[in-house]
C-alpha cells in the first residue's frame, strides 16, 4: 500500500500531539542524559557542567568490560533459549482449536503482567533449600539431599527466561497463525519427517520473524535489573545493576549516564547490525 505524502500543514496536525509527547518525554530526557554523561562528577556530591570524556574512559577497565560482556552474553542467551522454547510451543498452539488457544493466551498474558519483583522472589523461594524444588527432586531420588539452587547463573537464566518467554510467544504467535499449515504438510508429502519438515520449511519460512523476535527479546533482557540481583551472585550482575548502583548509591550521575548512553548505543548497534546482515542476505537472493 502506498500513502499519499502529506502536503499541507493541516495534514500533519494529527501527528503533532504524539510528536510533542515523544520530544518532551523521550528526546529531551535522553538529551539531558547524554549531556550529563560528559559532566564532571563532584566528590561526595552532585556534578558540575563540563565536557570530560573520563566517564567513557572507565569502560576500558577490565571490570566494566567484563560486566558489559556478561550483560550482552546473558541477554543473547535468554533470547536464544526463549526462541528455541517458544517456537515449537507456539507452532503447536497455532494448530490447536480456538478455545484452547484463548485459554493459553490468557494464561501467558497473566504471566506477562507479573512484575519482575514477584517473579524474582517466587523463583528465589522455588530455588531455596528449605521450600524449593530441591525437596521435590530429593523425594524423587533425583538429588541426594535438598540443596539450594541459587544464587547462580542457572537461577538467573531460568528467572529471565520465565520472564521473557510469554513476550516471545506473543511475538511469534501472529506469524505462526498466518503461516499456511499446508507448508508443513507439503514437506511431509515430499518425504520429510514432521521434525525435519519443521526445521527445513517452517523455521526458514519464518526467518524474518525469528530474527525480529531475537532482537526484541535481546533488548528486553538487556534491561533486566532485579532478577540478576535476587537470583545471582555479584559476578552475574548486569550493566543495569551497575548503573543503578552508580546513580543511586555512589551518587555518580555522570558515570551512570555514560553507561546508560553506552548501553543504548550498543543495543542500537547490534540491532542495526542484524538488520544490515538480514538486508544484505535478502539483496543477495
Amino acid at each position: 500500500m502506498r500513502r499519499e505524502p502529506a502536503r499541507t500543514f493541516s495534514d500533519l496536525l494529527p501527528l503533532l500531539f504524539p510528536a510533542a509527547m515523544l520530544v518532551v518525554f523521550f528526546v529531551i530526557p535522553f538529551g539531558i542524559m547524554i549531556a550529563v554523561s560528559f559532566f564532571r562528577r563532584q566528590q561526595g556530591g552532585f556534578y558540575t557542567v563540563d565536557f570530560v570524556i573520563a566517564n567513557y574512559e572507565r569502560f576500558l577497565t577490565p571490570f566494566f568490560g567484563d560486566v558489559l560482556g556478561f550483560s550482552l552474553f546473558l541477554a543473547a542467551a535468554v533470547a536464544v533459549c526463549c526462541v528455541l522454547l517458544a517456537l515449537p510451543f507456539t507452532s503447536f498452539l497455532a494448530g490447536c482449536s480456538r478455545r484452547v488457544q484463548v485459554v493459553w493466551l490468557v494464561g501467558i498474558l497473566a504471566i506477562l503482567s507479573l512484575s519482575e519483583v514477584i517473579i524474582g522472589f517466587a523463583w528465589s523461594t522455588l530455588f531455596s533449600r528449605t521450600a524449593g524444588i530441591g525437596n521435590l527432586l530429593s523425594a524423587l531420588d533425583l538429588m541426594e539431599t535438598p540443596k539450594a539452587l541459587l544464587p547462580g547463573f542457572g537461577a538467573v537464566l531460568t528467572g529471565m527466561i520465565y520472564q521473557a518467554l510469554p513476550f516471545t510467544i506473543l511475538l511469534l504467535y501472529p506469524s505462526l497463525m498466518r503461516l499456511d499449515p499446508s507448508l508443513l504438510e507439503a514437506a511431509r508429502t515430499l518425504g520429510a519427517s514432521p521434525m525435519r519438515g519443521f526445521v527445513s520449511v517452517v523455521v526458514p519460512a519464518l526467518r524474518h520473524t525469528i530474527a525480529a523476535t531475537l532482537i526484541m527479546v535481546f533488548v528486553f533482557a538487556l534491561g533486566s535489573y532485579l532478577l540478576p540481583q535476587i537470583l545471582g551472585r555479584p559476578q552475574h550482575w548486569t550493566l543495569s545493576v551497575l548503573i543503578t548502583d552508580q546513580a543511586i548509591y555512589q551518587s555518580n550521575m555522570p558515570f551512570a549516564a555514560a553507561m546508560a548512553v553506552f548501553l543504548v548505543l550498543i543495543s542500537l548497534a547490534l540491532v542495526g547490525l542484524v538488520l544490515l546482515v538480514g538486508g544484505r542476505r535478502e539483496a543477495a537472493r
Partner: protein, 345 residues
C-alpha cells in the same frame, strides 16, 4: 492392475462423519476425479489417501500392500495442495529439488532431474526466480513439478486449479491431462467443478455426504446417473415423479410414457431427463401437454420452462428447432425413451 484400493474407509471428527464407508478401486495409470459439492468429504478422502489424516475405520492398499499406518513421508506420493504450499524461502529450482535433497540425492543427480522437470512444465528459464515473483499459472507448474520430482506412486491434487482465472484454468486442465497421459501416472484430483472433471478424468467419482454416489466414466455419469443426487449435481436435469401401471410401464401424471419401464416390483420412481433431450411439439400431436411459463432466450439456445402436473420441465432447444410459443401457451412435450433414466432411489 489396481494401484489403489480403499476398503470401507471412514473418517469421523467427533460426531461429524466426513467420510462414510468408502470403497473404491483405482486402476494403474488412470486419472480419477473426486467430484462433489463443498463439504462432501472429497478433500478429507484425499487427505486420508495421502496419510495426512488417519482413518477411523477401513484399509488403504497400494499395489496390494496395506499402507493405512504408513506415515505420509514414507508413502512416496506427490501432492499438490489447494494453496500450492510453495516454500516461500526457496527459489523455483530449490522448491523442486526439495524432495530429492530430503532423500539425500547427490548434487549432480538432483540438478539434472530438476532440469528435466523444469522442461516438463515449460519453466526452463525460471529456475533461479523466487516463487513470490511468479504468476498464478507458473506457481501452479512449480507445485506440479515439485510433486512429480521423485516419480511418485500416486499423484494427488486438491482443487489444484481453483485459484486460476477461468481461461487459464481451462488451458491447465488440458495440460494436466496431457502430462498425466505422457507419464502414465495414477492421478487423483479433487474438484467441485464438473467441467473440470469431465475434461480430465477417466473415472469420475461423485461424492455427497461422505459417500460415493457413483463412480463411472464421465459420459456414463452424465448419461446414466445412478441416482437423483448425481443427476442433479452433474449438469442440469429435469426430475419427474413417475408411477408404474399394472404391467410396469411408466406413467407421468397418468399419461403413459412410451418405451419407459420401471423395474419389477417398483411402484414409484423418479425420471431424469436432460433439458436438451426434451422435445416440444404442438399440443395436439403429443399425449403429454403443459403450459409455457417462461422463456429464456440466450441467443444461441432457448430455454423453455413448461409447467405440467405441478412440475416444471425445462427444455433447451436451438433456434432452428424451437417451437413458436409464448408464455401462457399450451404446448406438447415428448420425452424420448432413450434419453430417460429411471431412478429408483
Amino acid at each position: 492392475m489396481s494401484a489403489l484400493t480403499l476398503e470401507g474407509v471412514a473418517k469421523r471428527f467427533g460426531s461429524l462423519v466426513a467420510v462414510d464407508n468408502v470403497s473404491l478401486t483405482v486402476l494403474k495409470g488412470t486419472f480419477v476425479c473426486l467430484l462433489g459439492p463443498s463439504g462432501c468429504g472429497k478433500t478429507t478422502l484425499l487427505r486420508l489417501i495421502a496419510g495426512l489424516e488417519a482413518p477411523s475405520a477401513g484399509r488403504i492398499l497400494l499395489d496390494g500392500t496395506d499402507v493405512t499406518g504408513l506415515p505420509t513421508h514414507r508413502r512416496d506420493f506427490g501432492m499438490v495442495f489447494q494453496s500450492l504450499a510453495l516454500f516461500p524461502h526457496l527459489n523455483v529450482r530449490d522448491n523442486i529439488a526439495y524432495p530429492l535433497r530430503i532423500r539425500g540425492a547427490a548434487k549432480t543427480e538432483w540438478e539434472s532431474r530438476v532440469g528435466e522437470l523444469l522442461e516438463l512444465v515449460h519453466l526452463q528459464d525460471h529456475g533461479e526466480r523466487p516463487v513470490s515473483r511468479l504468476s498464478g499459472g507458473q506457481r501452479q507448474r512449480v507445485a506440479i513439478a515439485r510433486a512429480l520430482a521423485v516419480s511418485p506412486r500416486l499423484f494427488l491434487l486438491d482443487e489444484p486449479l481453483s485459484a486460476l482465472d477461468a481461461k487459464l484454468r481451462e488451458a491447465m486442465q488440458v495440460e494436466l491431462r496431457q502430462l498425466q497421459q505422457k507419464l502414465g501416472i495414477t492421478t487423483i484430483v479433487v474438484t467441485h467443478d464438473q467441467r473440470e472433471a469431465m475434461t480430465m478424468a477417466d473415472l469420475v467419482v461423485v461424492m455427497g455426504n461422505g459417500r460415493i454416489h457413483q463412480a463411472a466414466a464421465p459420459v456414463d455419469i452424465y448419461r446414466k446417473p445412478a441416482n437423483a443426487f448425481v443427476a442433479d449435481f452433474i449438469g442440469s436435469t429435469n426430475l419427474l415423479d413417475i408411477a408404474a401401471d399394472g404391467s410396469g410401464r411408466a406413467l407421468f401424471d397418468g399419461v403413459p410414457l412410451p418405451g419407459v419401464t420401471l423395474p419389477a416390483g417398483v411402484g414409484r420412481a423418479r425420471l431424469s431427463i436432460r433439458p436438451e433431450d426434451v422435445r416440444l411439439t404442438a399440443p395436439e400431436t403429443a399425449a403429454l401437454t403443459g403450459r409455457v411459463t417462461f422463456l429464456r432466450d440466450l441467443g444461441g439456445t432457448v430455454e423453455t420452462f413448461v409447467e405440467a402436473a405441478d412440475t416444471t420441465i425445462v427444455a433447451v432447444s436451438t433456434r432452428r428447432e424451437r417451437v413458436r410459443a409464448a408464455a401462457g401457451d399450451p404446448i406438447g412435450i415428448q420425452l424420448p425413451a432413450e434419453a430417460c433414466v429411471v431412478l429408483t432411489r
